[in-house]
Symmetry: C2
Subunit: 574 residues, 2 copies
């Protein structure tokens, strides 16, 4: 993965370290950092993946028990500064560009995504406090979150309010000292409760008494597990027993159980930030959505790596056409079907990771004032969350298939990776929620300006590709299909405006997948252009051939579906 990351960062994205805020960095330092991350993952994470999967968290004597090796691994990550990659220098952080932070995250997720989950959530919570918190809130929590002494969570969902966050019932009642008493239940909380850190900083969406219904009435509260060293009455109701991602504790919490649970309104002590909860939380969610994409891509990548190594070693069968059973068996990578599966798995995992890196780089550019980058990032975010979650999972499926029966057993990591990755289309906004965000919000916003911007960038790549004979045949594809999708979106947008909401958005999920494929194909072409001098050219070009030859044509079917909403709106006989 290191090779690809270096190619992507330097040759393809040509990341810009010239900003004053990155003056502490240079390429040598970044390479070292990536190398260290690789070693850290290999030493501290990879060896315990199986253990964490088999010894899921349990409640024993009222405490959440996790394997001892998990605490050790997290301590090693903390010691290496992994919790601080995105924190500013002033806090003792590394202040990495987001794209480098993302590269590090990809490396670590590849070795064990469930372990990295604790880092991810802690960084997200810290970023919220850093961005919106008051000076005293920052002082109280950030130092220990940056060092990994405290962990963080995000508490949005409730048992009756999952995708529909606005229906949250958790309440916040003003106390005499300006803080709030939090009461209610939160569900699906990763890192909800454990003995892995000295404290847990819950970022809790709740409704101040008297606030309006829906998302507009929600405010965000900092609710620590321990307040000034004392129990803050956050109780674990129970653990969720999941198909995968078992290294990450996940459970339901009760706030205000057995005593007053104190929360501070994020950012203000006089209540002015009340009602800002969703807006604030969206910062964390947008980061988390990119992080989900990175995790999914990395899990897919890991499966590919393991399957590739197996396919090079496992001898089975003979070349097609060789009917002589006395000749030696050949490594299965020489079978075309295995080759196809491996190519697909790599093209999808690398394509997914490239998408994430591109988006992360946009985030850095946006941060440096590039308005178009911000616009494009906003459009891409639902795809960054969803495309990897779907297609890198497919890569894991293929990796199992390469091993055959062996891949279906717990002797290899592949079935675990498949189970782990199945989470990613669900959390941080399901596939369906991302699809609505894309089609009903991002695409039609600003009269489709972001989509036009995307098509313009695709056109630039197409023009450059047309000049390189080896890839000229792939030059027009992404632009053509992207344009067809844009035309379909235009029609759907008109239907939306006319109030035909149901039928306009019926196939939002199909649109999400298809536009994601167009984007990944475009970026893949862009990589081939950048790779002309690279030793990785064969790989990058093969990925591009696969994506354009096998996946892009499927967009044709998606366009047909988008133009036929009546399939779903008729009587389905449910």
């Amino acid at each position: 993965m290191l090779n690809f990351l270096q190619f992507a960062l330097y040759s393809w994205l040509k990341i810009d370290l010239s900003q004053p805020r990155f003056s502490h960095l240079d390429r040598g330092l970044i390479d070292q950092l990536l190398q260290l991350s690789e070693q850290l993952g290999q030493v501290a994470m990879a060896p315990i993946s199986h253990v964490l999967d088999r010894q899921a968290p349990q409640i024993i004597d009222g405490k959440v028990q996790t394997p001892a090796v998990l605490k050790d691994a997290l301590a090693a990550l903390a010691q290496s500064g992994v919790f601080a990659t995105s924190a500013p220098l002033a806090e003792g952080g590394t202040a990495l560009p987001y794209v480098i932070h993302t590269a590090v995250a990809a490396i670590l997720n590849r070795f064990d995504a469930p372990i990295y989950g604790y880092v991810l959530l802690t960084q997200g919570a810290a970023n919220l406090i850093r961005t919106f918190g008051s000076a005293s809130q920052k002082a109280r929590y950030l130092p220990d979150m940056v060092t990994g002494k405290y962990f963080g969570t995000m508490c949005l969902s409730e048992p009756h309010a999952g995708s529909s966050v606005g229906d949250a019932r958790t309440k916040a009642a003003l106390l005499a000292d300006g803080r709030y008493a939090i009461t209610g239940s939160k569900m699906w909380i990763s890192g909800a409760e454990h003995e892995l850190s000295d404290n847990i900083v819950h970022m809790v969406l709740a409704r101040v008494e008297g606030a309006v219904a829906g998302t507009k009435g929600l405010s965000l509260f900092i609710v620590p597990r321990y307040l000034d060293g004392a129990d803050n009455h956050v109780r674990l109701i129970g653990l969720n027993h999941k198909m995968g991602y078992r290294g990450t504790v996940n459970g339901a919490l009760n706030f205000g159980d057995g005593g007053v649970c104190v929360g501070e309104l994020l950012g203000s002590t006089n209540g002015t930030s009340a009602g800002q909860g969703m807006a604030q939380m969206f910062q964390m969610m947008n980061e988390a959505r990119i992080a989900v994409g990175v995790g999914a891509a990395a899990i897919g990548w890991r499966g590919y790596e393991l399957a590739l190594a197996y396919a090079k070693n496992r001898a089975q069968g003979r070349k097609l056409g060789n009917a002589d059973p006395t000749t030696p068996q050949i490594p299965i990578i020489e079978h075309m079907d295995v080759r196809r599966m491996l190519l697909q798995a790599r093209a999808q995992s690398e394509g997914a990771l490239a998408l994430c890196l591109y988006a992360a780089n946009l985030s850095d550019q946006a941060h440096s004032g590039d308005v178009n980058a911000a616009k494009l990032l906003s459009l891409l975010t639902p795809m960054v969350k969803s495309w990897p979650a779907k297609y890198a999972l497919e890569a894991n499926d293929l990796a199992i298939q390469v091993l055959g029966g062996a891949g279906y057993t717990q002797d290899y990591l592949l079935e675990k990776l498949y189970r782990d990755n199945r989470l990613n289309p669900i959390h941080e906004g399901t596939h369906g929620i991302q699809a609505l965000d894309l089609l009903a919000r991002k695409v039609i916003a600003d009269d489709g300006a972001a989509l036009v911007l995307l098509l313009t960038r695709i056109a630039v790549t197409a023009q450059a590709a047309a000049k390189i004979p080896a890839i000229a045949q792939f030059a027009p594809g992404a632009l053509e299909f992207g344009t067809q999708l844009a035309q379909a979106a235009l029609k759907l947008g008109a239907q939306l405006k006319a109030g035909q909401t149901q039928s306009a958005l019926a196939n939002a999920g199909v649109f999400l997948d298809a536009l994601g494929t167009v984007v990944v194909c475009w970026l893949s072409l862009d990589q081939v252009i950048a790779a002309q001098e690279s030793p990785d050219l064969a790989k990058v070009f093969a990925n591009c051939r696969y994506l354009h030859g096998y996946e892009l044509n499927k967009v044709h079917a998606a366009v047909a579906v988008l133009n036929a909403p009546e399939i779903l709106s008729g009587d389905c006989g449910f």
Copy 2:
């Protein structure tokens, strides 16, 4: 499922009970049988699915331990005559047409496929003995296999010979009494060893000393766990710990460990059936391949059922366009995206099951002397094995997604069904092996006669559909895409003949999926024609709309791939 089965059997396939061998049956009896199977599954199987999944088989004190409830369930199945559905009346069996047997299998698999696995293997082994065995072999084993007192297995794979069965090294040395001493190891044996039956009848492929290399040197042996009440030296080497299908014991066996392991050559005592092993085993494999399809379809169906029930009850969010958070939440089935997922899951599961029933009916027709039915069945078998395994697994994936986070937990059966169904693209010949069977053998055999036959049948349906206004738009699709695939196959066949084996078969897997989709779409259209007067019309029609609108157009992309083998044959940079 009962409704659909009755529609399929009577209105669509119009099964023919007029054959003398079915004179003991009538529709009333069959309906009763289906009803009883449903009850049996509900009472004896469904309640223990979770238990079997969580308490995987273990070796304790040298014996394979399975939960006690498994033995009870199998006893209930045995008592109900489930092991005897395909056995002749003379043996006390029910002598069902294969299509009815398949319907029963679908019902039972739906309640727990891993339990039904024992029945499946025992019936397969019994059928082998019934077809090829000597009179004494039949007398010795069949009575106890038909009553479920003895179970059966099929022992093909070895640690170094999975898909490449011809490389099997297990040996058979002639003993003085005409029987053989079997030595060697077999791998991936379902039902390998357990305390669930009085005996286990292993059907073992082995090479008689001096026989030629490859599949032609393999013979089939009956190797009981206990021979005349004494240990026959078949030893369990270890269990496979699988991602799913945990109710079915699976392990590796050593034959001739600690003493002579005696096997009888199937069918002859004078060695004349030596070298017939693969041909004989193919009978069992062909049945097993259809059975895998049925199991996969049924597991997909189960997921659909559970997700549908959940979606009708779970309230979440509001109609798109309703921004008022004070209005009540609606059942999620009213969300278009959920509706789409449910429709897809049903269309794929029902489509898969319809394909299996159609094939099973062909088997009955072939048995009654219909040569075309036999030809078509042979062509369809790889698709019957593979399409359900891939697309009903997709249905399970969608069923999880409908439930969101809940679907990812062990609180529901959906994640187990997903794990179970992931086995089906692997065993009884992987997806890749089926693809070679289809493209390199079945399609090109007899100058493509079977494919022409298939297209002719599709054309008949298209003609009938064109006359029904509601479906006229779907009439030409399957025929058009089927023809495109046939044209691609023609070219590939010519390449094969020219010795360009690798590139001709590079995308056999893509061809398999695509032709499977064409067949399922055709059958779906055929069902709509048959359902014109049925109360199920809305359902059947919605499935057809989904399959034609969403899936069939993807064949376009497959055709493009088949015409571009250079994507894979270039340097992939592995």
